[in-house]
Symmetry: C2
Subunit: 354 residues, 2 copies
């Protein structure tokens, strides 16, 4: 039995793998999903259903468009200021990790970035809280979950300016109120589907105000007008995302998966706090429910524990080099039985040390 | 028996479908290709092999980089001038169809486009030939194969300035001399692999001369430095492209597939020219070996013939709305037996009309 705790591209439901595998052989009438035109009614139906499922699962209000794009969150780092930041104006960013920092760097091509707060000096082990967002910024940008550091922002700061969020690693893991956001983007490869797809949810009325001419592929308005089919979309990634969203819906939607995610995170953090060999790496109130980061009290135990875990089917728990130790990513599709398996190994390993 | 003549995303070899389908279930040690990190040695090996196969199959000389990107040719329409065209300068373009025209339109965001020649007035039924490329242009751009109109440019114009080519629909269908090009780009979804991947082959020395600051994801140099892994790449599309390139190599490479492609095209055009019911739509010397466009002498025959063809397993031959009639796309993976099946139907249909 394998338990895939990888940080992403990550585990998806086994039934999604089976269905996607089958569609590669035979999507319709013997033709593979890889050889059908994106302009067939069948694939147009896939795009329509995927878009509709995102709207339904996230309860996206009227006045927002859902886009299925390419290029990952990294391309959004540039597209956001390109579309929303008028020349010479300022956008405010919260710096909570390397990915937030990468987003900040792309602003310089279009205007100025104002960092409202940063936890960089503490190696991003907490989410800054008491800061002011200047009302004359074009927008406020933050990263809701910091995959590398295992922190997550649970309380939206209050502001009257447009709010933009990189939700790549916790989208659809918990119920959020989309109406409090103006633009949400996410690389698909955590809770949405395979790599190669980027989801953007944008409030239509914030667009068209930058005064900047935008190349077609990078213009949200062009993509909205094209119904995510301005050019050939990433067919297989969209199809598999649809299968995964169907799975999430059948499970009861985001509210139900949130309960499971909370139970998984609670169990694992409880063991980290209880077990004398382990300790968490970040502020308790900011602990991510998607990426659980921890180290060992005695660093010399880390290599043997990693080896022991890997020998017992636990995959992908090595921490990112900038944090060290371990990172257990417990995305939507990871079953709680996998978390229990990890906890059991932590307990057995601790007993062995006595 | 189905024969997939679709214009793209198009047919790939059946064995590629089988292998890709299997990898969705089990790529390595029970893990799906969809759930593995792009930073694993196994996937880094896939990127390395895919890049190496492109270099090998196309005989890419030293001094060129091969990139595996996202966004399709449409994003390249913008990235090319963004990276190669200094502010206010001019790039020269050959207008041979709608896609060439879309490329031309994106130049306006970065400089000026000079159209050296166009066959627009003739609905792009031929490739313009006698034109001059101004030597003070930053580069010369053309589309090597025009999917919609069924024309292909076989003789490179002579010029001393950098040559940029959108080779989306005939890359790896015939032997070309890469050293005569400075930048080649291609959406993968014809002869390379599934949709969601874009291949760029660029001569390193032409980069870094635009004087323009370029957002990271759109900067060829950043992508070269990142080894096509500046961010999470389209894992499955790259993996399947690798399988397809292995297939091409096993067949004997581009020179061998070119023989098959020539035989397929020759047989089909011969029937179009021989059969009194059908006629070709474009200049004989510019006839594409990838997309064979034809109409019927009596337009009233077209609906019945399309119906008859579809009833007999012929898929995707309806012509693009801007040309009408039929388009049989005969990409690398389409077996010659499919071409023979189509020809046989054309002959039987003609006999029935007598």
């Amino acid at each position: 039995m394998r338990h895939n705790f990888g940080a992403g591209p990550c585990i998806l439901p086994q039934e999604v793998f089976k269905q996607a595998s089958q569609a590669v052989l035979d999507f319709k009438d013997g033709l593979s999903i890889l050889e059908i035109s994106h302009r067939t009614p069948e694939f147009e139906g896939v795009v329509e259903e995927t878009t509709r499922l995102i709207k339904e699962l996230m309860n996206v209000p009227e006045g927002y468009s859902v886009l299925l794009l390419q290029g990952g969150a990294s391309l959004q780092f540039a597209m956001v200021p390109m579309n929303l930041l008028p020349e010479g104006q300022t956008a405010s960013y919260l710096e909570t990790g390397v990915w937030a920092n990468k987003a900040i760097k792309e602003v310089a091509f279009f205007g100025k970035a104002n960092i409202v707060a940063s936890s960089k000096d503490a190696n991003f082990t907490f989410i800054p809280k008491d800061y002011t967002i200047p009302e004359d910024s074009a927008y406020f940008h933050f990263t809701s979950n910091n995959t590398i550091y295992g922190t997550e922002l649970f309380n939206l700061p209050k502001t009257s300016i447009p709010v933009v969020c990189d939700m790549s690693s916790d989208i659809m893991s918990r119920v959020i109120d989309v109406s409090q956001f103006d633009l949400i983007y996410a690389g698909a490869q955590k809770n949405i589907g395979p790599a190669g797809l980027t989801v953007v949810i944008v409030k239509d009325e914030i667009l068209g105000k930058s005064g900047r001419k935008i190349p077609s592929m990078l213009d949200y308005k062009v993509q909205i007008d094209g119904g995510s089919m301005y050019n050939t979309p990433p067919v297989f990634s969209i199809y598999t995302a649809m299968l995964n969203l169907r799975w999430l819906k059948a499970k009861g939607g985001v509210a139900e998966i949130e309960k499971e995610n909370t139970a998984k995170a609670r169990a694992l953090y409880a063991e980290i706090d209880r077990n004398p060999l382990f300790k968490g790496t970040c502020a308790v109130e900011d602990r991510s429910k998607m990426n659980v980061c921890f180290v060992m009290e005695n660093p010399e135990h880390e290599k043997p524990f990693l080896k022991y875990a890997e020998e017992n089917g636990i995959e992908g728990i090595k921490g990112h080099r900038s944090v060290g130790g371990f990172r257990a990513s417990i995305y939507n599709a990871l079953p709680i039985t996998s978390v229990h398996a990890l906890i059991e190994l932590m307990q057995i390993f601790a007993e062995k040390q006595q």
